[in-house]
């Protein structure tokens, strides 16, 4: 019992329950105006409270769907739909996941590559860093459609444009983290290498790289979440090609609020799962590298 209270299960459960309670309250508040106008059109007066609640929680196009509505939609589109058809959220999650994965791998490699350049070349350090920061202030999300079109015109279609938007968003945390990581060895550790007359390569592989591993994982966690956002945004313009992004958007065209929320839930679950997976690899690596349990 004490263990339970000290772990994070109980606190998380309590917080989640609180959120659900607030959510239900919000459902009532936000959906009441529409419900009243429905009653007014039907000339209904003095609707009993239970009937009112039942109606508010079962609207076709709620401003805010009730948690159970989202849960049912989520369940149906995950478990009751053939995962190889566009009716299934699994189908869309898979499309988004592949773009996320590809973009994330590109982004991580690009980030590490740039960090290596920055750490080893002063000119790169000075000239690149301010522009890398500035690059992230470009609202890439806003011009994602244009990027997709332009890439299409040079023959890049399908997964690649989405993955490149993911790359753009995910390389930044990796560069910043890895520059820090590659520079994290203390002066004395570098001096030690110098006394051995170690080559640049040896210093990198035997010192800088292992020292940077914790930073790598931390920034990869941030990066993978950014990748997912990038992939989803990249799917918006290519609305009909599937993926959670197109699902979100289609939901909004056809007024399917509940479907939007289910897709949102799936997106958040996906990113939580990805972050968790990286965390698992991180602790495995840490164990192999001798970190205290």
């Amino acid at each position: 019992m004490k263990r339970l209270a000290e772990g994070s299960f109980v606190p998380v459960a309590v917080v989640v329950l609180a959120i659900i309670a607030i959510w239900y309250a919000g459902t009532i508040i936000l959906n009441t105006p529409w419900q009243q106008s429905v009653y007014a059109r039907a000339d209904l007066v003095d609707v009993p409270l239970t009937q009112f609640l039942a109606d508010v929680f079962a609207q076709q196009r709620p401003v805010l769907p009730a948690p159970h509505q989202v849960a049912v939609e989520f369940y149906n589109s995950v478990f009751n739909a053939n995962p190889s058809t566009p009716r299934s959220l699994i189908f869309h999650a898979w499309i988004t996941l592949s773009a996320t994965g590809l973009g994330f791998i590109f982004g991580t490699l690009l980030g590490i590559g740039l960090a290596v350049l920055i750490v080893h070349n002063r000119a790169m350090d000075r000239s690149l860093m301010p522009w890398i920061i500035a690059s992230q202030t470009i609202p890439i999300l806003a011009i994602a459609p244009m990027v997709v079109v332009v890439l299409n015109s040079v023959g890049l279609t399908g997964l690649i444009p989405k993955a490149l938007i993911s790359t753009y968003l995910s390389f930044f945390p990796v560069v910043v983290g890895m520059v820090k990581g590659f520079r994290s060895p203390e002066a004395i550790h570098l001096d030690l290498m110098r006394t051995y007359n170690a080559s640049g390569n040896q210093v990198f592989w035997k010192l800088r790289w292992p020292a940077a591993v914790p930073y790598l994982f931390t920034s990869m966690k941030v990066g993978v979440a950014a990748s997912l956002v990038g992939a989803i945004v990249g799917e918006l313009p290519t609305g009909a090609a599937g993926g959670l992004g197109s699902r979100l958007l289609a939901g909004s065209y056809y007024g399917q609020t509940t479907q939007i929320w289910a897709a949102l839930l799936m997106a958040a679950a996906l990113s939580a799962a990805l972050i968790f997976a990286i965390g698992a690899i991180q602790s495995l690596t840490a164990k192999m590298m001798g970190a205290p349990a």
């Binding site: 566009p86 997709v148 289609a250 939901g251 065209y253």
Partner: protein
């Protein structure tokens, strides 16, 4: 024998609006015509004019106003056929707004679609002499997302709808038809031709391409004919092509029916309607609405439709 490859860029996601093309592809009409057609769906932020300029498509559908605007910006688009002979853009106002006639517009908030869809609206306001910067003697313009929500949530007094899509959504939400006020852009004298087929001008110098286009247009019209006759089956086909899984059969049957009704007897461009569109656009030139500033030259051709006859 070898099929002639064609890439066709839609303006919007696969839906009943494009049923004719999807049916033609699905039933093999294009193949029979010697064509290998790839249909690329569009989306809210895909500008087909940009896609074709970048070489990403051989032929696109877009609205005439947007096509002419692109031509003036240096993308030499040419209309080769006009399957939609009539227009479906409307503005619908809620009961609460109190709008009954255009005289009630001042002081109201109107939802407008941008991204090349705004030209008819600005032409209309210019004709009514209303400013679009808000205030009591003008209207306030809201950039409407591509949905009917602003009306349902009372954020706008009137919104833009396509007769075949959002209008149905408004009705489906439970709002009675007789409580709504509907303005049809064509009836207001600012109708502009909608879905037409456009290609890059230089491609038309190639007779083989013209021939392929003729085959394409002909097969597409056959697709439309089939869709009109078999709306359920056409809606099924649309649904099979929907990658979002968000469409419902019911809404698509409705949409196919409505869209097929827009298709004229002939794909040939009605020159009178073209000139009307141009005249309306030129009558409303303003910094907000720089669709075109001069009479376009060579913006349409009949070589393709002539080749069909």
């Amino acid at each position: 024998q070898d099929l002639y490859p064609l890439t066709f860029q839609l303006k919007w996601v696969n839906q009943g609006q494009f049923a004719g093309y999807l049916v033609a592809k699905d039933l093999g009409y294009y193949e029979e015509a010697g064509l290998d057609v790839t249909i690329n769906p569009g989306g809210p932020d895909i500008a087909p004019e940009q896609v074709i300029a970048g070489g990403g498509a051989d032929v696109i559908t877009t609205w005439m106003a947007a096509g002419l605007a692109a031509r003036e910006r240096g993308v030499p688009l040419v209309n080769i056929a006009q399957p939609f002979a009539t227009t479906a853009l409307e503005m619908v106002c809620s009961e609460e707004s109190g709008v009954e006639t255009t005289a009630d517009f001042p002081g109201k908030t109107l939802g407008v679609w941008f991204f090349g869809n705004e030209y008819p609206f600005y032409a209309w306001m210019a004709q009514l002499g209303l400013s679009t910067d808000g205030g009591d003697d003008g209207v306030e313009v809201l950039r409407q997302a591509f949905s009917a929500d602003p009306l349902l949530q009372n954020q706008a007094d009137c919104i833009s709808v396509m007769r075949y899509n959002e209008y149905k959504q408004v009705l489906d939400a439970g709002i009675p038809e007789d409580s709504l006020t509907l303005f049809n852009f064509a009836d207001e004298g600012v109708g502009m031709l909608e879905d037409g087929l456009y290609v890059m001008e230089d491609r038309l110098e190639d007779p083989e391409f013209v021939e392929a286009m003729a085959a394409f247009v002909e097969a597409s019209m056959a697709g439309w004919e089939y869709a009109e006759a078999n709306p359920e089956e056409a809606a099924e086909i649309v649904l099979n092509n929907d990658m979002s899984g968000a469409l419902t059969l019911e809404s698509q049957i409705y949409q196919v029916n409505e869209a097929a009704a827009l298709v004229g007897d002939t794909p040939a461009l009605d020159v009178e309607a073209y000139e009307q569109t141009v005249a309306t656009l030129l009558s409303a030139v303003s910094p907000d609405n720089p669709a075109i500033t001069a009479e376009p030259e060579g913006a349409y051709t009949t070589v393709v439709t002539d080749a069909i006859e």
